[in-house]
């Protein structure tokens, strides 16, 4: 059974919580943050594992700046939050690409990242971090579609708008991602 940590968390209560946060209530903002940040961080750990925490912090700075101007329901709020996070990641990757980077073959062996086998790790403990690592094995689009649909609770059309793809392409990418995930888990010997 899925335990949702983001999605229809507030429900009918969302407009009041949002209005209170926009009116300066720190308690209301804390509720929004507590409900959204874990999912946001997990999404960022898949699409930007090296700078997820920084990207999350920058995302909240942006969200706080635009909080009083935001208008919309809970789904729009989630879409705005993840759109902001995705743009932060894209901006950060552009900044990194402009910097001169040291080639990997020049780096000492002990400095190279040790990549654990995500499937093996998942076999040991199918926890949240293992699931994140598993999704990191997927192509970027498939992983993003699965994360945005499962973590953020967005429907196909919202994800399509967020990613700039057609709903059909998003649907296909999601299905392919799940099939590929099933293949990875089956290859690792997970049979229930």
């Amino acid at each position: 059974m899925l335990v949702r940590i983001l999605g229809a968390v507030f429900g009918e209560e969302f407009p009041a919580v949002l209005a209170a946060a926009q009116g300066g209530s720190e308690a209301a903002f804390t509720r929004l943050w507590l409900d959204a940040n874990p999912a946001l961080l997990r999404y960022l750990r898949v699409i930007a594992p090296e700078s997820a925490e920084d990207a999350a912090a920058e995302t909240w700075v942006q969200v706080v700046r635009g909080l009083c101007r935001f208008r919309g329901d809970e789904a729009a709020w989630r879409a705005w939050l993840f759109t902001t996070a995705r743009r932060r990641v894209i901006d950060a990757s552009r900044r990194r690409s402009r910097r001169r980077e040291e080639p990997l073959h020049d780096a000492p062996a002990e400095a190279l990242p040790v990549a654990a086998d995500a499937a093996d790790e998942a076999m040991e403990r199918l926890g949240t971090q293992s699931a994140i690592a598993l999704l990191g094995e997927l192509p970027r689009l498939q992983a993003e579609v699965i994360l945005l649909r499962v973590l953020a609770g967005l429907d196909t059309n919202a994800v399509a708008r967020l990613l700039g793809r057609s709903p059909g392409a998003v649907r296909i990418a999601g299905h392919r991602g799940l099939r590929r995930l099933a293949e990875i888990l089956a290859r690792a010997g997970v049979t229930l």
Partner: protein, 251 residues
């Protein structure tokens, strides 16, 4: 796959995980997983690990996922809470200022209106000091200073500058004793100068220098005389000789 010269039997027999064909999984089951509805009944066992992985993905947050709250709250206080508080205090202050200003402006306007209204009433009653009365006479058509009561009444009744000549004609009535109506409407009929009895007290006599406008080639009696502007002369009991001069303009 073996290289050249190596038989296939030389390759070790490695155990391989059982591959399950997931390509035939119905899209409806996948869509149910993506929508967060869990594994639907009838779904194959090959999707069970996927459902578990997604459940782990949406598990309750761990401690390290809540560490950025203090920074976010500080940013919120700086960007939202403080500006909102400042805006609210400014709004309250501005509302109070506007109400106080409104009361003051309304009071000042009432005082000004009452002052002007009262001054106008006094001016039409002819009770202002001479210089002020003259000013009121020029600006709002109040009776001139020294005008008799009847002239003031006529001015009050008539109103404005269209009847100023009447009030000026009324100045004749003092010495002549005629009625304002008999002289105010016709500028031809000036009081006979000889009828003005010399009095012991000098008085101001308004004299109009005539402007003669010939109308066509009509004879002299048909000329029209327009009196404008007004000139004043002092006429006294011993100034009877000047009466002849004041008779200029009668055509």
């Amino acid at each position: 796959m073996t290289g050249g010269g190596v038989s296939g039997n030389d390759m070790p027999s490695l155990p391989r995980p059982a591959r399950q064909d997931v390509s035939d999984v119905d899209d409806a089951f996948l869509e149910s997983l993506l929508a967060g509805n869990g594994l639907r009944a009838g779904a194959g066992a090959e999707l069970r690990p996927v459902a578990d992985a997604l459940a782990a993905l949406t598990a309750q947050p761990a401690g390290d996922e809540l560490t950025g709250l203090a920074a976010a709250r500080a940013e919120f206080r700086r960007r939202v809470a403080e500006p909102v508080r400042v805006r609210q205090s400014h709004r309250r202050r501005s509302v109070g200022l506007v109400s106080r200003l409104s009361v003051r402006v309304a009071s000042a306007a009432a005082v000004v209106v009452m002052g002007f209204g009262g001054a106008a009433a006094v001016a039409y009653a002819g009770a202002l000091p001479s210089s002020w009365q003259q000013f009121a006479h020029r600006t709002i058509g109040a009776p001139a200073h020294g005008a008799p009561h009847e002239a003031r009444a006529a001015t009050r009744a008539a109103g404005s500058a269209a009847h100023r000549p009447s009030s000026r004609h009324a100045a004749y009535q003092g010495p002549s004793g005629g009625s304002p109506a008999s002289h105010g409407s016709s500028h031809h009929t000036r009081p006979p100068l000889h009828a003005a009895p010399p009095t012991a007290r000098p008085f101001i006599h308004l004299v109009r220098p005539p402007i003669v406008i010939p109308v066509g080639r009509w004879p002299s009696p048909w000329r029209t005389t327009v009196h404008w502007p007004v000139r004043t002369e002092q006429i006294g009991p011993d100034a009877s000789g000047s009466n002849a001069a004041s008779g200029r303009g009668v055509s």
